[in-house]
Amino acid sequence: MIEVRNLRVDLPGTRGPAVDGISLSIAPGECLAIVGESGAGKSMLARTLLGLTPAGAAITADELSVNGVDVRGLGEAGWRALRGASIALVSQDALVALDPLRRVGREIAEPFEVHEKRMPRLERDQRVQRLLQRVAVPEPLLRAGQFAHELSGGLRQRALIASALAANPAILIADEPTTALDVTVQAQILRLLAELKASGIAVLLISHDLLVVAELADRIAVMQRGRFVEVAPAATLLADPQHPYTRELLAAAPSNRPRAAAAPAAPTGATPLLSARSLMKSYGRGVRAVDDVSFDLFAGGTVGIVGESGSGKTTVAKLLLGIDETDSGTVLLDDKPWSGVSESRRRARRGQIQLIHQDSLGTFDPRYSAQRILAEATGLDSAVTRAGRPARIHELFDQVELPRALLARRAQELSGGQRQRLAIARALARRPRVLVLDEPVSALDVLIQSHVLDLLATLRERMGLAMVFISHDLAVVRGLCDQVLVMKEGRVVEQGATETIFRLPQHAFTRQLLAAARLVEQA
């Protein structure tokens, strides 16, 4: 289906090729997975196969054919005939990958509207229904009339796949197709892709996560800096990785890295640093976002909150931070009331509890350098004099293991991992005793993820920080937390010591989450 020999792609204004001497071939009904960090050239390779490289890209290859068509030097009209009809794309987050202003049905119909002659509306609608049925979307008639934002993450992703299949392509490029999804949904989407593969479609799967692709791929290619460093059948590669980079990727997989300090024994008689008692919060009419959440957190301890999106995890974070008021129930910080007091009384203690977001880029002023970002935060610290600020900033940079050379950079000039470190440094500037981390590593590649998690574990140990760690990734939680809350629809369905919950899950939902995670992990 796809034959590529010695492909090289040079982008204008960059040093070195983005894709460098890649050869690959995919047969019908086969899945080749390409794994590597962001910036490795995976997506550029995918774009090249779709003829969607940026203007000015120089492409050379000894052979480059898609579905039997030699695409070297192919014009735009030639590419248009291939796209959608021979080779189709499923990309990351269907919420933005589908046009948010058009109904799902119209989006699904577009490929055959483009490639086939006009058909009556009734026929078009019926075909959309059949496509939705093929990707196992229940109530296709209803769904076709809705917009992407009205569908759940899993249904959206299925709709996106349906639209890719609409004009019967022989090849599917799936670029991080499950990255934005909860672990249970991730498993379902991978199963759907497996069914498509079994029906004879050639799948090129792109991911940063080796364990995700292991489920589906027949062969895995590990890509680093534009090159394949290792290509092997999936089982062989996972069982016996040859290249050091492959081994590093495998080792970084969250499930393989316990970081939890032994559950810090709650010192008898000690008061918890942060205590949540029967937190309740509703929004609008009757939407219970948080329903009876309680836990105690001691210095050096970490409580993990897991659940699918929409389960109320982030609302709990807002209540703990005092950004949102509880309807009932109390939060105690250092045994003193934290919820239900006026903001002016809270302000003096705000530094003690700090937040770190999933996407920290949006939390930095884009015009500020890293230095200035930290200067602003240290300016709130009465223990630091104006003269002492530069030294304190250096100290913070060292604590999060960022090279000082980056002090002059602005946030958007930093990599995802560096940004997250800067966010941690900014939080530390206030000398917090509790960190609330809302999906802090979910946007990062596995390798970077692993480094940031190591940093958090080190800081916790060195400073006696207590952490509330919110994540949909069970493996990450297992590695870092000593107690876990499993949330579903605002309620805590299970709560306890991490190992107990992972070994002996009591609630059906916990078992379902674990099963889904394991399904994805099974190598």
């Binding site: 005939a81 189709a88 990309s91 990958a97 046009d99 202003l101 058009r102 639209s163 995890k313």
Partner: protein
């Protein structure tokens, strides 16, 4: 799912009520400010209402006092004034000896015709320039033209257009004759700066939309550039431009003052200008209230249109 649909429509109804309430509030605010201004001007309110140069008999003064209930306490006067407004009675212009509503009504048609045509011309120019200019060079040229159009004062643009197309080429009449041909030059004069602004915002919207992730999906389906724009990015760009256009309609009323003066056309703009010069306060008040009404209706329409364009605006918020 049924449930959430009901929830959505409930939300939409509520916001529609809220918006109507907001409209009433805006009009009421404008009327109140106008009333206060009338009372806060030092001197006898009768003198203020009759205008500085008014030379009228004591009997007219008495009838003004009776009309406005000036002997009553201020709060009663205010309530009576609001009561008249609600019934559509805008009062009487003592200078022109006729009800304000009649004066405004008589001049409404030419101004509305001018504004409507100007808006149509502006939208066509803006959409055309934003859609047609794809190359770097044509974009640079258009940006320059836009800047020129936006920064030229209306009276100057009007005079230039008159001298070229009126006197020079003789395509259009120079003064108001009543026909549609006489409307073209004034409308274009009014439209040019507006078109410049809308087209800039519209093009930025198109550019922003074409950088969104779904564009890759659409292109990967084999769609042509034309299809991408017409079926997808145009709609995204329209969302912002519609809001801007709503605000601009309000400013067209102000612009019509200049254009009607330059082209010696009848219309509300000139009525307003004369009323201000002569301190014919009842007419000024009437026009303030009318402007508030027009502005809030247009904004209501714009909001409803924006909801149609972007369904996410009325979506119930998602909490996690």
């Amino acid at each position: 799912m049924k449930n959430s649909e009901q929830h959505t429509s409930g939300l939409r109804r509520r916001t529609l009520f809220g918006r109507l309430g907001g409209m009433v509030l805006v009009v009421w605010g404008a009327a109140t400010v106008g009333f206060l201004a009338l009372r806060l001007v030092p001197g006898d309110p009768v003198d203020v209402m009759l205008g500085v140069h008014a030379d009228v008999s004591e009997s007219v003064r008495e009838s003004v006092r009776a009309d406005w209930g000036l002997a009553d306490p201020p709060i009663m006067q205010y309530l009576a004034y609001l009561g008249r407004l609600v019934r559509g009675d805008l009062g009487t212009s003592y200078r022109l000896q006729s009800p304000v509503a009649d004066i405004i009504g008589a001049q409404l048609v030419p101004t509305v015709a001018l504004m409507t045509l100007a808006l149509a011309v502006a939208l066509v120019l803006a959409a055309g320039s934003a859609l047609l200019a794809r190359g770097a060079r044509s974009r640079a040229l258009l940006s320059m033209l836009e800047l020129f159009a936006v920064s030229s004062p209306t009276f100057w643009t009007g005079l230039v257009l008159i001298s070229i197309f009126g006197f020079g080429l003789g395509w259009f009449p120079v003064v108001a004759t009543g026909g549609i041909a006489a409307l073209v030059l004034p409308a274009v004069t009014l439209a040019l700066p507006v078109a410049g602004i809308i087209s800039q915002v519209f093009r930025q919207g198109l550019d922003a939309a074409s950088a969104l992730p779904f564009v890759d999906t659409v292109r990967a389906r084999g769609a042509t550039h034309a299809r991408l724009v017409v079926r997808h990015t145009l709609r995204h760009a329209a969302a912002n431009s519609v809001t801007l256009t709503g605000y601009i309609v309000g400013s067209l009323l102000g612009g019509s003052v200049l254009v009607e003066t330059v082209f010696a056309r009848p219309g509300l703009g000139r009525v307003a200008l004369n009323a201000i010069i002569n301190r014919d306060i009842p007419i000024v008040l009437g026009i303030i209230v009318l402007a508030a009404v027009v502005f809030s209706i247009v904004n209501l329409l714009v909001d409803l249109l924006a909801d149609r364009i972007d369904p996410r605006l009325t979506a119930p918020a998602v909490y996690s």
